[in-house]
């Protein structure tokens, strides 16, 4: 009957839908099951709509500095609803793009919530009254915001938001507390601050953007503070209480008790994997800390069952989900993956932007690598000065012994568009010699990448 497939993918986020496309390219008869929107969190409630909001905020904030560019504007203002509508339109456009791609690749889209039952050679996928059988089932059910109801860190849609609510509010709050200074928390802090909200960010770790290189997170914090964002670092939320007009958070910052009041609180304290109600337990799938345990090819240990993307563990990034999915299906198809180390870059699309790949300086030292570190600030980069975007720096980390590029970190204007240069260099196993020998176009902000590589070996030219 029609419900027999080679591959069934559950979840249509960047992990799932990309896997389905690759599966179809490889000649598998493929179906994808989705309980809500095609494109998953990333396209509908994550990467893409946030970038639309951030752009609006960025453009609006630029207006503050028009005079610096010799420009003026009579009256500035914004239509908050218009900003949100644009973000939704962008998401809708990407979503229909996925619909088109599924059709183009003859992938059957099955609407509904999937559940697994024992089966052979792979578990059977049950969606409503349909039973889909396949040789390979790939779980890409993603993740959702972590909440802590016990202390009030739980969305109510009014005063307490997760990213979901934060993406489609009725109005911009006058004051806002963001709990968690990871990429998601900082992006909302950056956006709402751009529109004029009073924003305070609480971070439990000793510094903001804790996964980034310390120097980078320090530099970023300075710029955020210049923009008026306040921080409580390190700080713990003891209790959140709601009132009609807002929230109040009892926190302990730097060992001292404090109460923060705001109209709204955004909870951005990490995510949990969507592992419930799938029937994983009955199948004997191993789940640790809400994530499915897999081998390096995504195999769960249950014959024919694989897991990729957010549900299979960190880093929780869209491109990591896609990459894992492609690897998984190619492995299933028996293609030999190339024996390369592909480091996964991470980006935060705030003002200023943060982008990094590989090891931080501290990690390199922990590994006993004796790193050679180079830095170059945008302050002396011609293009950055011309563009009026002088905040930030580029930092490169080389293995002192072999010269291999082992880490690169950037903070500044549009650095998220540049990090792939370093990712490519690392994948190609470049050493300082190749990067130094590469000609970077002038004038570009990317010249700072070149200079940082030169600086690591005492050869910096413009400092």
């Amino acid at each position: 009957m029609a419900d027999q497939f080679d591959v069934v993918v559950i979840g249509s986020g960047p992990g799932g839908y990309v896997t389905a496309i690759r599966a179809s390219q490889l000649g598998f008869k493929t179906a994808i099951v989705e309980r809500s929107e095609l494109g998953g969190i990333c396209l509908n409630w994550g990467c893409i709509p946030t970038k639309a909001l951030l752009k609006s905020g960025e453009v609006y904030e630029q207006l503050d500095h028009l005079r610096d560019y010799g420009l003026s504007v009579e009256k500035r203002g914004f239509d908050f609803d218009g900003i949100v509508q644009r973000s939704r339109k962008v998401a809708a456009q990407m979503n229909s793009g996925v619909t088109f791609l599924m059709k183009k690749h003859k992938i059957e889209v099955v609407q509904g919530t999937a559940r697994l039952e024992k089966g052979s050679p792979a578990p059977t996928v049950v969606v409503g009254s349909r039973k889909l059988t396949a040789k390979h089932v790939i779980l890409a059910t993603g993740a959702r915001a972590r909440t802590v109801p016990a202390i009030g860190l739980e969305p109510d849609g009014e005063r307490v938001w997760t990213y979901r609510e934060a993406l489609v509010p009725k109005a911009a709050p006058k004051s806002l507390v963001v709990v968690g200074s990871g990429a998601i928390g900082m992006e909302f802090a950056s956006f709402y601050r751009a529109l004029g909200s009073e924003v305070t960010v609480i971070e439990m770790m000793p510094r903001i953007l804790p996964v980034e290189d310390e120097e980078i997170s320090k530099t970023a914090r300075k710029v955020f503070e210049k923009r008026g964002i306040k921080f409580r670092v390190p700080a713990n939320v003891k209790k959140l209480t709601k009132s009609k007009t807002g929230v109040s958070l009892d926190i302990e910052a730097d060992g001292k008790a404090e109460t923060l009041n705001a109209e709204v609180c955004i909870v951005a304290i990490g995510i949990v994997g969507n592992v419930e109600d799938l029937g994983l337990e009955a199948l004997g799938v191993k789940v640790e800390k809400t994530h499915i345990v897999t081998d390096k090819h995504g195999a769960t240990g249950v014959p024919g069952l694989y897991a990729i993307g957010d549900v299979a563990g960190p880093p929780w990034l869209a491109h990591k989900a896609s990459h894992e999915g492609v690897h998984c299906i190619e492995h299933i198809a028996g293609l030999r993956p190339t024996n390369l180390t592909s480091p996964i870059p991470g980006c935060t699309y705030t003002t200023p932007q943060i982008a990094s790949v590989g090891l931080t300086e501290a990690q390199a030292r922990e590994q006993g690598l004796d790193p050679k570190v180079g830095r170059f600030p945008f302050r002396v980069n011609g293009k950055a000065v011309a563009a009026g975007e002088v905040d930030g720096l580029v930092k490169t980390i080389f293995d002192g012994k072999t010269g291999a590029l082992i880490g690169a970190h950037m903070v500044g204007h549009e650095v998220t568009e540049m990090i792939q240069g370093f990712a490519l260099a690392m994948t190609l196993e470049a050493t300082e010699a190749e990067i130094q020998a590469t000609v970077f176009p002038h004038p570009t902000m990317s010249e700072a990448m070149h200079e940082a590589a030169l600086d690591a070996y005492g050869r910096v030219l413009h400092l």
Partner: protein, 608 residues
């Protein structure tokens, strides 16, 4: 303290099984002592100690599989050396460990990103294949990532000795990490094997899984690839893909060969040797290769290697694969010797007891599927050899002779040629084999088994059979004659000798031959009348024969082998070479054309 390293038994060997230890800790070994047995995909081989000393530590346990070449397997303590604590590093080397452990994760949301590496990328345990030491000298480009180059330099690794596992076979960091430190120098690879290895790094082929190709899992059993299967797969793929090959097939009538075989085997019976058709084919091939040396050659980037000897690799099926032990310099060996060597090699091949030098480095292969009834087939070239000959079954087939169909035993042989070495012009090699097969029947080396000229039969000039046994108890003078030669007047001297000693038991036999300056062009009738009219020849004249070359009369092959000419060569130089045979059929003398018949009187009288 000396480390004994896992030896490379062959240039392609990457790892092996330490099958057995012959020594234990504390044993004293002398150089040359057998200390262990190593088993590879191809063979079991004994490892001999190179140095003297006391075994201070056994690093790899008996029965360990997949021991990489150059891994230390034991420690030897030299005489007088203080017993030192075993270095702990040794074990770590033996079992290469993964890279440094990743740093601890923070529990923050994207904490692990920093050190996250591609899940694909776990360095696969890529064995560094001992490979072409030549690659660098010949300036062949080695593809390696910048980091891999630098790491190799720092480790003192020869990149040409490392097999790349990156995109398009590029050498990446993981390959260097997996390479053994002892890899600095490629083990003495046979030069002839080197060129073909350069291509080992060919792009990995993208293969669809069986499932993807419609063969469901569970519908078959999977036999894991063992070393031999992998080696066969790799070598055959590389050869078939990279060597421009073409087949040439020819039918050989082998009735003569079969008759010779029966005869030969009867003679060899008491020695317990039995010559097979394949032995004769190998001998024939070796002889043919000497005549067509272009086919006994190997292509190398530096030039065509023309081998001095026909080292014939014979394909032997063994459980789980195929191996090709070698009959060295087969052209110099007699059939009896080839037969006994072949039997011994095949037996030891099946028991995995061949030494590497016994199956590496042949110059030409013979593969025979005749016993399975295969009519013709074209084998895949066994690099770096230039040709391989596939031998089909000998069977009765109709053949056209003149305008008649007759039955003959026919065997089809196919020569697969490397076109870089063998051109169309060399193609007639199988024809050469055909010529040689006739000659094989009269293999010189078998002569010891043929004890006198009485074993041969000639044909009189009138076409009557003339068994030489008819001249038993006579002294026989055998001369190759010609009617238009400077020496032709020796007919007179010969006739004189004949008449003088005929009654005392001398016989002169004339064998006209046209091989020298074409001075005997005429037919039997012409020769006969010339002899009687001009020189009044009365002694028996025989039919025209060849005395040299593959179609030489067997009698002459025998005579020449019994009495070589001056300078030790067998070939007859000109007309009127004389062989003197005593009353028991033994050849006692060989006299050059320049020796006048009269000068032989003394020698003849001595025999009479």
């Amino acid at each position: 303290m000396t480390d004994i390293l896992m030896p490379a038994l062959s240039p392609t060997m990457e790892e092996g099984t330490l099958a057995k230890w012959h020594v234990k800790t504390g044993d004293t070994v002398r150089s040359g002592d057998v200390i262990a047995e190593i088993e590879t995909d191809k063979a079991t081989m004994e490892v001999e100690a190179v140095d003297e000393g006391v075994v201070s530590e056994i690093l790899i346990a008996e029965g360990s599989e997949g021991v990489k070449v150059n891994t230390p397997i034991a420690r030897l303590q030299g005489e007088g050396e203080a017993a030192a604590a075993p270095a702990p590093a040794a074990k770590a080397e033996a079992a290469p460990k993964a890279e440094a452990a990743p740093p601890a994760e923070t529990d923050s949301a994207r904490a692990s990103r920093e050190q996250a590496t591609d899940p694909v990328s776990k360095p696969a345990p890529v064995a560094a294949a001992p490979a072409p030491a030549k690659a660098q000298q010949t300036g062949e480009r080695i593809f390696a990532s910048p980091l891999a180059r630098r790491l190799a330099e720092q480790k003192g690794l020869d990149l040409s000795a490392v097999k790349g596992s990156g995109p398009h076979g590029r050498i990446v960091k993981a390959d260097i990490d997996a390479a053994q430190p002892g890899q600095a120098k490629a083990p003495a690879a046979q030069p002839s094997a080197a060129p073909q290895q350069a291509s080992a790094a060919a792009a990995p082929r993208q293969v669809q899984s069986l499932e993807q190709q419609g063969i469901p899992a569970g519908s078959y059993d999977l036999i894991p690839l063992d070393g031999m299967r992998k080696t066969v797969a790799r070598r055959m793929t590389e050869s078939f893909r990279d060597v421009p090959h073409f087949p040439l097939t020819i039918d050989l009538e082998i009735d003569g060969l079969l008759a010779a075989r029966t005869r030969i085997n009867a003679l060899l019976e008491k020695e317990g040797v039995k010559v097979s058709v394949n032995d004769m084919v190998m001998k024939a091939a070796a002889v043919a290769l000497k005549r067509v040396p272009e086919a006994n050659a190997s292509y190398t980037p530096e030039g065509i290697a023309m081998h001095h000897h026909a080292d014939i690799s014979m394909a032997v099926a063994v459980p789980g694969g195929l191996i090709t032990p070698i009959i060295r310099a087969a052209e110099t060996k007699g059939l009896a010797q080839i037969a006994s060597e072949a039997k011994d090699l095949a037996e030891r091949a099946r028991n995995k007891k061949l030494k590497p030098e016994e199956f590496q480095g042949g110059t030409f292969s013979v593969s025979n599927l005749g016993m399975f009834g295969i009519k013709t087939f074209a084998s895949i070239i066994n690099e770096p050899q230039g040709c391989i000959m596939s031998v089909g079954a000998g069977e009765k087939r109709p053949v056209v002779r003149g305008d008649k169909i007759e039955i003959a035993t026919v065997m089809s042989v196919t020569l697969t040629c490397d076109h870089r070495v063998v051109d169309g012009a060399t193609g007639p090699l199988p024809a050469g084999v055909q010529g040689a097969d006739r000659r094989t029947a009269d293999d010189d080396r078998l002569r010891p088994a043929m004890t006198s000229i009485y074993d041969f039969t000639a044909e009189t000039i009138d076409g009557q059979p003339a068994p030489l046994a008819d001249y038993r108890d006579k002294v026989v003078l055998i001369v190759n004659t010609a009617s238009k030669c400077g020496f032709t007047k020796q007919y007179a001297g010969l006739e004189e000798l004949y008449r003088k000693y005929r009654d005392r038991g001398l016989v002169v036999l004339g064998f006209p031959c046209n091989q020298f300056g074409q001075q005997e062009p005429g037919d039997a009738e012409e020769i006969k009348s010339f002899c009687s009219l001009t020189y009044d020849v009365d002694f028996p004249m025989m039919r025209k024969v060849d005395v040299n070359g593959p179609s030489a009369h067997p009698l002459y092959a025998y005579l020449k082998a019994q009495k070589k000419g001056v300078l030790g060569t067998e070939g007859i130089k000109w007309n009127f070479t004389k062989f003197l045979v005593d009353r028991s059929g033994k050849v006692t003398g060989r006299f050059a054309p320049t020796v006048e018949p009269k000068a032989l009187e003394g020698a003849i009288e001595a025999l009479l």
